[in-house]
């Protein structure tokens, strides 16, 4: 299927120039690359401009409530391991109200991809500070909480034990596509931090500066090296390193990542025994 086959009929309500357009495009490309059947695709989000994305996809989508996409996705994936489950949302949705669910989703290591469109602001509610808003932005715009340090989503997930952490920029379409593809392929919880500027509520010049601050990880970077990853995730030097920051070696995986009860998962059939012909083994994302 072509990338456009992954789009629904709905037209995005985003502002002209919004970074989220790039993510929508990159995601449809990645899904197309992986040939994920649309009926096997579960797209989950919370609330925010970015969370609107799930409605623009041809999928079983769930636009839930603010901050709760990860629990909904966890339930879906555990109950229906045959589906490909992707969660998208904003920096506020994921790292303010929803942050409590992140380390727990990470440690459960359920096979979900979580892509956060970080615009460093609350877009939908018109420009309040988010947990990733930088000090100078807060000072410049007179937002609440000027003296709070921003949260670094990549470092946060990494140090919570996430087995796959990548960073990309919504303006770099091939890279967004690649990162999302690799994340979806990763067997376990995968996090993709996408820098996606808000065209309406960020400081003037923000988008350009953000883009300039990005740099690709060197070709010889070893994503299995946890301490290198911690260093690469760091942004205190004002640089955003893009690429796969960390990918846990397969042999360090716990026995049955998706099986969070005692006992084994293969005894499982959704819908009270109504096993469907098209259902495949857990972990197999068809």
């Amino acid at each position: 299927m072509n990338p456009k086959d992954y789009r629904s009929a709905l037209a995005p309500v985003w502002c002209p120039g919004c970074g989220d357009f790039g993510v929508l495009k990159g995601l449809t490309q990645a899904l197309s690359d992986l040939e994920v059947p649309t009926e096997k695709l579960g797209m989950i989000s919370g609330i925010g401009c970015s969370s609107r994305l799930v409605g623009y996809l041809n999928a079983y989508s769930f636009n839930s409530v603010h901050g709760r996409a990860l629990p909904v996705a966890t339930g879906l994936k555990l109950a229906r391991p045959d589906l490909t489950v992707v969660v998208v949302g904003g920096d506020g949705d994921g790292f303010s109200i929803g942050i409590g669910h992140v380390p727990h989703a990470v440690r459960r290591d359920v096979d979900i991809t979580y892509a956060v469109m970080d615009n460093g602001i609350y877009g939908l509610t018109k420009g309040q500070a988010s947990p990733t808003t930088e000090l100078e932005v807060k000072r410049g715009m007179g937002l609440a909480g000027v003296d709070e340090r921003p949260i670094n989503p990549a470092l946060f997930t990494l140090s919570s034990g996430c087995g796959f952490v990548a960073r990309t920029h919504a303006g770099n379409l091939p890279h967004v596509r690649q990162m999302l593809r690799e994340a979806i392929q990763h067997p376990g919880f995968a996090f993709v931090h996408i820098l996606a500027a808000c065209a309406t509520y960020q400081m003037p010049g923000y988008a350009e500066k953000l883009f300039q601050r990005c740099e690709m990880l060197p070709d010889d970077y070893d994503p299995t090296d946890f301490s290198a990853a911690t260093a690469a995730a760091d942004t205190t030097g004002d640089r955003f390193r893009l690429g796969i920051l960390y990918r846990r070696p397969v042999e360090q995986k716990l026995a049955a990542p998706a099986d969070v009860t005692r006992g084994r998962a293969d005894n499982w059939s959704p819908l009270g025994g109504a096993t469907e012909a098209e259902e495949t083994a857990p972990g197999d994302r068809g």
Partner: protein, 584 residues
């Protein structure tokens, strides 16, 4: 007591009647380490094994472990749902432990009292008086004037209890074997202690109860809820521990996997219900269980379930609130929240549990409604049901698990079509069924909208479910007593147990208890009320939530409210006093 709920009876009062009844009430009091809970469990097992019915409730002091503890066990020849008040036998290792239980136990003329021989004090006044002198038995092993570890007191006590009950030694051995078979040394020690007391004991005989001969089953309210849910098709559970509901999750951890399901302990209650909604969006019957504080946290997510028409079953084992309240005490104070809680208007169903046996049935109804009508169904249990152990008949046949109607290609209607009360569910994986479930108001296809007219029509569509359900659940209620009885009581949930006994003893009363609290079976109540001279609403809620809810639905101007905060459940004597006092 022997008469059925509908048979007229001339027995009156409480005292005389219960002394001749076919049941025996044992009250066992100790401190942590004395093992009175185990003692009660063993008695329950032995009763069930010989086909006797019974019920056991427990009570603890504030200590996390090691404080005062009481087990109140009533054994009977027919199902009992109320433990009673006046102990036929009180066993107490230490008189000082009694104080904590003031108000929850009482003696009668013929009560047998067993104390430790070293206890020199007398029974407190508030216990009431028995005509018999206490039996003093050397439970504690004393050396040089100090207590040292010796024979387990509860095993000695078991010997005496079997004597009093007239139960065979072999039955006790079987019980111990059943419980400690995997730890032979312990078993040998316990059997020896039991035998010693059984041999030596000179205990007055309690009324002999003859069992049905077939073994019955001991179950608590939480187990019943968990098993009822599994029978009704539950395949995904997410929960967060909280007293008194944690055992629902614990039972499912042990038992659901073998039935092809999955249990997750979530990070909190919001996540728990979120996971349930996610699993159910995936087409899998799913449930969570919690108590008041957790229910409050689930409020927003409950609205999401209703708005997106994703079925979810939420069990709430009520405890005394608000806030943390009194976690192990019972109350009926979550009714308002279950029926009215949450921002905005959305349909939900609320069911009430009467007792352990009913808990299994009610879970079937909960899944039937949620899987059929795609909305959240709340099941209100409470600490009094959750924490009791009840002996019940074995389950012979189970209902078939409800099945959610699935959309298939060509099936036509969009997910939120306004042409039917509930359109077939689009289960992920079904080709062509892709749609979006949104917490935003949406079109029939699921696309977000801010159109007020559509919002109104969507509300109409969603609330049509409640009307449809109401039409089908008109008779989801139970009545007690004879239709000619002039005095009426309306109550709900665990009040069923004590009211069943009240009505048996007071044939001038009849009672009405809804099984479905929302939408309320109003026609049945209206019909039932006819001819009543007086009406009282009995509930454990300071605000009289049930009474007020009824008043918003029908004329309750003549009705009296018998409502108080939770803690101990209503007893027959309290009811007698309150019903008397409340006379207009």
């Amino acid at each position: 007591m022997e008469t059925g709920a509908n048979a007229p009876s001339t027995s009156r009062g409480t005292g005389e009647d219960r002394k001749t009844k076919k049941s025996v009430l044992l009250t066992l009091v100790g401190s942590g380490g004395d093992g009175v809970a185990l003692l009660g469990d063993l008695v329950m097992w032995m009763a069930a094994h010989q086909g006797l019915y019974g019920m056991m409730v427990q009570s603890y002091g504030p200590q996390i472990r090691g404080g005062e503890s009481a087990a109140i066990v009533r054994i009977a020849t027919e199902e009992v749902l109320y433990e009673g008040e006046e102990a036929d036998l009180l066993l107490c290792f230490r008189l000082s432990d009694l104080a904590r239980f003031r108000g929850s136990m009482r003696l009668h003329d013929g009560s047998v009292v067993i104390l430790d021989a070293v206890e020199e004090g007398t029974l407190p006044e508030w216990l009431g008086r028995t005509g018999r002198a206490p039996l003093r038995y050397p439970f504690a092993t004393i050396e040089e004037g100090r207590e040292v570890p010796g024979d387990p007191k509860n095993m000695l006590a078991l010997g005496l209890l079997c004597r009093a009950l007239g139960w065979a030694k072999g039955l006790a051995h079987a019980a111990l074997e059943h419980r400690f078979g995997h730890r032979p040394q312990l078993l040998a020690r316990d059997v020896a202690a039991f035998d010693r007391a059984f041999a030596s004991g000179e205990v007055p005989a309690l009324p002999r109860l003859v069992g049905r001969g077939v073994p019955l089953v001991v179950e608590n309210g939480n187990e019943a809820v968990a098993r009822g849910a599994m029978d009704a098709g539950l395949r995904f559970f997410a929960g967060y521990p909280i007293t008194p509901s944690s055992e629902v999750m614990e039972t499912l951890i042990d038992e659901l996997h073998g039935r092809g399901g999955r249990v997750v302990q979530a990070e909190d209650e919001i996540a728990a219900l979120g996971m349930v909604v996610g699993a159910s969006f995936g087409g899998v019957p799913a449930m969570t269980a919690t108590s008041g504080p957790g229910l409050s946290l689930m409020t927003e997510m409950m609205g999401l379930s209703s708005m997106t028409e994703v079925p979810a079953v939420i069990v709430d084992c009520q405890r005394a609130g608000p806030a943390t309240g009194m976690p192990s005490r019972t109350e009926q104070g979550d009714l308002y929240h279950a029926v009215y809680g949450g921002h905005g208007d959305f349909p939900r169903v609320v069911l009430g549990v009467f007792d352990v046996v009913h808990a299994r049935d009610v879970m079937h109804r909960a899944f039937l409604l949620s899987e059929t009508w795609h909305l959240p169904v709340l099941v209100l249990s409470d600490a009094y049901i959750a924490q009791r152990r009840q002996i019940r008949d074995p389950i012979i046949e189970t209902h078939e698990a409800p099945r959610r109607q699935r959309w298939t290609e060509g099936d036509g209607p969009s997910r939120f079509s306004m042409d039917q009360v509930t359109a077939p569910f689009r289960v992920p994986g079904t080709p062509g069924g892709q749609y979006m479930a949104a917490g935003l108001e949406h079109t029939p296809e699921g696309n977000p909208t801010a159109d007020g007219d559509l919002h109104q029509r969507m509300n109409e569509k969603r609330f049509l479910k409640l009307e449809t359900i109401a039409a089908r659940t008109r008779d989801w209620c139970r009545t007690l007593g004879v239709a000619a009885a002039p005095k009426g009581i309306v109550a709900w949930g665990s009040q069923y147990g004590v009211l069943r006994e009240w009505v048996r003893e007071h044939p001038e009363y009849r009672a009405f208890l809804p099984e479905i609290l929302h939408p309320f079976p109003l026609a049945a109540l209206t019909e039932w009320r006819k001819g009543l001279e007086s009406l009282a609403v009995v509930e454990l809620s300071y605000q009289a939530q049930f009474h007020h809810m009824l008043a918003s639905l029908t004329d309750m101007s003549g009705a009296r409210s018998i409502a108080r905060s939770g803690g101990l459940p209503f007893s027959l004597s309290e009811l007698a006093q309150r019903l008397e006092e409340a006379r207009p």
